[in-house]
Point group: C4
Chain length 505, copies 4
């Protein structure tokens, strides 16, 4: 027996508490169509971690933070530092150690095979895949620079280059943002912006460091971009050096190019040429992304404006009476407001499968429809099915819902608001009745298949459930007994109605 | 009695005068679906103002004007003025007083709860919400700067900062534009442009003021962007200082960057770096918006061009006779012109509910269809329903509306223009008749369900009402009496027609 | 008597020669819906010219050319010339005279009322409208500058300003481009580009002239953008002056801003600020337009790529046999090629009204279908109706058109290419027949309503006409006699076929 | 006998090996509609090469490589070299010789007539077309520069110009990219990027060469962009000259414009003006393309976010129980994941013709459905047709597939996963059964046309085949015998089921 509208609080509580987490399906993998031919396991073996494990996800997010640190520190060491200094050495080595832990961990994390969409949890296959792909690069990027300096002869130069190898870790950030973009808990707009800002800041910082290194290592310091302006730049504070490098970098990147600082020797020119080419691509990419976001944000408003404009033009061109014009505009404005409040009701519901839609409709409307006079004594089964077929609609005040004499295609149940019954006689409108929450209008036309008796017009903002005649008849045909009950209900009430109505004229 | 087409002028007048304002529904709030479970009040309590009150809206618009004043004056005071001067002090304090009034007022304005979409009018809740959110910032931004100078020891510096606090008021402007964009009385394009221009001008002005302040407060005036070019810049006129600051600001913002003025000391560089980064975002945003507007404006024309191009290519590739090609192009061009004149007739009408569509159709076409010979003696009810089913279509001159021998799917009523009846005999076309306003064509085919007797071709631009056979039959089935009348009408007239037609060959 | 497929060459010739021009409907105005209520005349009175008159259109195009001349000369005179010189004076006055003629002419040109869409041809109304709107500006912009110099005291200065008034004529160009964009005889892409290039060149030229004038009229020539670099700039050749101005103008406009030339005095700075702001809008507009054009051009290719990609992924993921994969890709590729050759066949045809579509189908396919054995002896009427229901489809080689045992929903007529009949027996395919142009496949399944007997597979690229079973039966029901003939036809041929087929196994 | 699901490995192998290449249809031409009126040959005559010949295609791709060489070398020779040097002369002449071979070859390559879409293979027509169009330009661009120097008097200058004529070959690259964009074997994104990078690099290189030539040939070397900074620039190394030119070129192109190098004499200014104008167009084009790619890439994610957002808002606004909310979100997320894994299953399949869709459905599901108890003893024909009507759907865990009491519109076959049968009794849910792979749910409701007996809910991620009641009944009507078998099957099993079910309460 149907329980629609009767979920008690406790039950809801239960669902939310112990079932809530089970509905997260991001961790599972779709089997291919035709299951008998392919076999997928969604769980992983012992001592192997699923790549969708929440703890592993947190670990990955933590590593992304460290990557941000690396992204700032590595180019900085490359450009400005000759040898590592106290604090930086310590933090660098701690970060390296953490990434080394991740390397070890990776041998125990199952992976998703891209072609078969299978989760591979065989330790051998995991190891083979990792060793043949990114293992070496990952390992090299965790080697402490002190160790390198001991091994390599030209230890000063190499310090910077080893540092740069760590940028290999940046690939984690791009994967991180790709996942964030699809996560409904984070705003798409801000995720996208954060990504663009991260990229831009990194590029500027990186270029600043390279620019400075080029100048610092050039044989003739006065023939460099910075030395030609400040001859004693090497003795300045690190902050002053960095801010000047950053200033030139962003001046070039933003294509401002004041010209107070500019490339002087061929090395700088070569790098600058490549940097400007890259910036051309980057700024295009930023503009493209911003356009994407702006167009997206503006679509809804534009559609509304277009529709309203078309309706107004149509009305004016055909000199429709003001009352009709107002009805048109009011209806379209209401429709848009419903949307702009974040509902898209019908759209969202329509994309769901039938069972969920029925559940929603019954949860919302079953108790109301159950009390309608028309369905007194009708079986729960039919009622359940009828409610699933109903569509909720809003009508602004003073809008006609049904016109007198029109063909009976729908009946309406009032959820909220008030509507009037109006009869046209000798071109004068007579209000002959009113309907409120729980009443039904247009049912006599639909059941007796004759032109509607009254014009039905809203008195204030009303919510109505529309039930289509064809859908209604289809359901009645399969429940003949209930059909008779409904007809009896309507005849008892309606006869009196019509009787009084005819008398009143 | 249907009154379609008979709204007298007086009635229309009445509607427009005393009902016009009631149709504005922007002030109301949608109840959630299933009204019996939630309860919404749309009216607010005594001594509490609705946020949708027209007077309150006007007050808000007035405040926006004052915000524009603040947006210009505050950065200017921050950058260029050491102490407030006569007139400026007075206007500043008047503006502050007005905003103080608004703070008091806010305690009496109901607000819309974002999660439940309820209007909250409890004074306690309003006060709690305001005090816990923006009250303090609003209050601080109205403190007169004279008062601050007395309190704080370092009174000169603080003058500018207190001034800057007032920019907090800018949030009003963004809300104002958001509302304007959705208002059909203002052009979307120009609203959007006004917003972009406002933002751009504010940013340039703001940056100019900050740039100047940075230079004016630097310990060594010759090591500033302005002092390194004009050493005695502090003695220049305020206008000259301002125009130079503005000039550098826009030079940087537009990425022109002549380089005659450029950052010199680290402070300026730091600010300039941030300014250029911000500009990168701002110009992307401007370009994104412009692209949005351009694409929107061009969509219609492009669609027209694509359709015409496809039709021409098809015709040429399949070597269709010139007459057919001309018909195709003429029809598509006409269709587009109908659109470009701002009608989108069918589109606009289709998005309205059935009752409004019926009203429109009856207002426009009832009186014409009432006089058609086919419907002589037919009940008003049926006529009303038939008119609701008709679709108005334009046909360019010399286009075939009906082809001889084709299956009878539609009949057409002439609203304007002239069409010819044409009979093909031995591959020669014979014109055997003509139809004008109020005539009907194709009805014999439809009623007798036999291939059309004539080709019907327009002689000039014609407007026709199309009535689909299926829709027509469905309505007739429910009105058997009227159906017989229609058949009699058609037999009386048609028999003669066909008789004369057969004789003529 | 249907004449489809029998238009003789002479007839086609006749259409194209004497009717061609009548199909141009751009000159006519749509009446509003419901013609009996409003009255529109499409012709204009005596001695009044229609605004859509071809001769008047040519005159307008000629004036646009002169506007281009004005757009170049006016700013040039404003910026560089102190007094008019020989040749320029003469051409200027000729152009002025022609525009004066246009002013007189305008009093005789009917206009289109924007609100009622009526052509107003009353001379009084035309004159009233013109005098109250643009007459004065038009008139002032045609006054010869010599005349102005005599009247005004400060005649040197005024020469330039009078010249600038003529830019009022530019409004013609914008109207001209708006019309060109909708004209199918001109490429949309190039029209749009021409418009953008025109605007950009004009802005650069204009700014160059104003920049030079600012420098030339400044009290201290060495404190100007040009004088601070070339002190004796006033004695240089006109060409040198112009190219330097243009160089600075474009340097600023394109935001390159080398800085070799830059604003020096406050006047220049003020203008430069405004110029840069305007350029920000203009470049955004150019980028927006380019994006619009690029996105438009790329849409089709992108859709194709997406579809192909989706199909490939689906096939690989579900491990479909190679043969099926190939069929899928081949079909989609063919579909796209049909589009890319500029046909969009079905799309273009579907947007046309039924009568035109029937004409096209009959012109193309009637003669072929007439010769199909199935329709031997069938009436022309039915054949005409059947052909209208058929859809032409291309199939790549080796694609299955019909599968053995599938439900019979369609039959196919071969227009070109070859198809094989294949029977599956014990998982082996036997080719049991072949069909060529004029044959029909799948008819036995459709007519006898039983699963298809053969798999039908194309041997090479084939064109087939698809006829849906439901559409076919609907037409047959209304022509019972013809239905019997068709059944007889099929039984005579098919029985033998099936007989031989059964024997062969 | 249907062979679905029984393609043995050998057969698949055979298809892929000897048929694979035949499905490539890019080489064929579509006949126009109505084949009897036009005649197309797809093969070409003897000694004539088809333009779609794979060998010829490879030859064209090879030539494109040589064009890249020419595109770099020609401007370089034009700008920097006075006379050809050793190695360059040799390679130049080899390349010229290869292009000469291509000229000869072109006389033997058939071409596609753009208006009739016919392949023209008459040698005379090929020759006529080539000679009257591009032959002369092609020929001139292959003349060796040594030869030119002998003929022309002023041989030094001419060397560069002859070199530039070879850029005529660039038109090949644009055709090459147009073809690559449509080729599914290459990524659209990277093809497009490669094209933009090629264009940008060529423009920068070209401008660099022209800039240098302008400076090198100016009468006063100190009044040039390069000479005014480095007086002895002509004695510098070629590399230094080139990198400086390139540096200025890109500085201008990217609108950075440092100003350390800038146009000095009118010649340079004139070229620079044109270069900047061109760059305005080029950067707009690059941004437009990038926007196109970004918007394309982001569409899918945005749609997903919009849908999820709408559903969440709807749920919160109407206070749906948490269980329903979770079902909604889980369903939409699953749907999106299916898409993001590159399937678009339904979309891709729906755009294919019926025969291919049936083949796919049968290949995937026939063997599973064959084993369902419902279809025991049913003919293969009906099974084949039923499988074609089924749609595969994924359901996330704990989602309702069928609701108790709802109208029976579909039945479902389990491909994978597990579902529970649940009965609501006194608002408590009782699990009364479970179904697994190969089971069918909802069949009793559909066959007996009564409300569903159970709620069916997934226990884990499940794949179900949905069969619509109407489609099912239509097929059964045409196979009455099989219908009886199915009913017997259902009654045997279901009766027991219902019996036990009723007993259990």
């Amino acid at each position: 027996m149907f329980t629609g509208g009767k979920y008690d609080e406790k039950e809801i509580e239960r669902f939310s508490v112990d079932d809530g987490s089970h509905f997260s399906i991001t961790g599972e993998i779709l089997p291919s169509l035709g299951a008998t031919r392919s076999f997928h396991r969604n769980s992983v073996g012992r001592f192997v971690i699923s790549p969708f494990d929440p703890h592993y996800r947190t670990w990955e997010a933590f590593l992304v933070l460290l990557v941000y640190y690396t992204a700032w520190v590595s180019p900085f060491e490359f450009g400005f530092l000759v040898r590592p200094s106290g604090l930086l050495t310590i933090t660098d080595n701690i970060v390296n150690a953490i990434f080394f832990v991740d390397i070890v961990l990776t041998f125990f994390v199952a992976y998703l095979d891209k072609t078969s969409y299978l989760i591979i949890d065989s330790k051998k296959e995991i190891a083979t895949r990792y060793v043949t792909t990114w293992f070496l690069l990952d390992l090299i990027s965790t080697i402490p620079s002190e160790f390198v300096r001991v091994i390599l002869p030209n230890n000063l130069q190499s310090y910077g280059y080893v540092s740069m190898l760590r940028l290999w870790r940046l690939r984690r950030v791009s994967r991180f943002f790709a996942r964030l973009e699809k996560d409904k808990n984070y705003s798409y707009f801000w995720t996208r912006c954060a990504k663009l800002v991260s990229v831009t800041l990194f590029v500027i910082h990186m270029a600043a460091c390279i620019f400075y290194r080029l100048a610092a290592h050039y044989f003739n310091p006065t023939e460099t971009w910075i030395g030609s302006v400040w001859e004693d730049f090497k003795t300045e504070s690190l902050y002053s050096q960095y801010i000047k490098s950053l200033y030139w970098s962003i001046t070039t990147m933003a294509t401002v190019g004041y010209g107070d600082l500019h490339a002087v020797n061929p090395n700088e020119m070569t790098f600058d040429v490549m940097y400007m080419l890259f910036n051309l691509a980057l700024t295009s990419y930023i503009i493209g992304n911003m356009t994407n976001l702006v167009v997206h944000a503006a679509t809804r408003t534009r559609q509304f404006r277009d529709t309203i404009h078309a309706a107004s033009s149509f009305a004016q061109r055909n000199r429709l009476p003001v009352r009709l014009q107002d009805q048109m505009i009011a209806h379209l404005t209401l429709k848009y407001r419903t949307d702009s409040e974040g509902l898209h009701q019908q759209e969202a519901i329509d994309s769901l499968p039938k069972a969920i839609r029925s559940s929603i409709a019954n949860y919302l409307f079953y108790s109301l429809v159950d009390r309608v006079y028309l369905f007194r004594g009708v079986s729960n089964d039919l009622l359940f099915q009828l409610v699933s077929e109903m569509k909720a609609e809003y009508f602004p005040p003073k809008e006609d819902v049904i016109l007198q004499n029109e063909a009976p295609t729908d009946m309406y149940f009032l959820v909220s608001g008030v509507v009037e019954h109006i009869v046209h006689k000798n071109a004068i409108e007579h209000v002959v009745g009113e309907a409120r929450t729980g009443d039904v209008v247009g049912e006599i036309g639909v059941l007796c298949y004759r032109p509607q008796l009254f014009t039905v017009r809203t008195k204030r903002l009303s919510q109505l459930l529309r039930l289509n005649r064809t859908a209604f008849l289809n359901l009645i045909q399969a429940n003949v007994g209930d059909g008779t009950i409904i007809m009896n209900n309507v005849l008892q009430v309606a006869r009196l109605d019509i009787f009084f109505f005819l008398v009143s004229f």
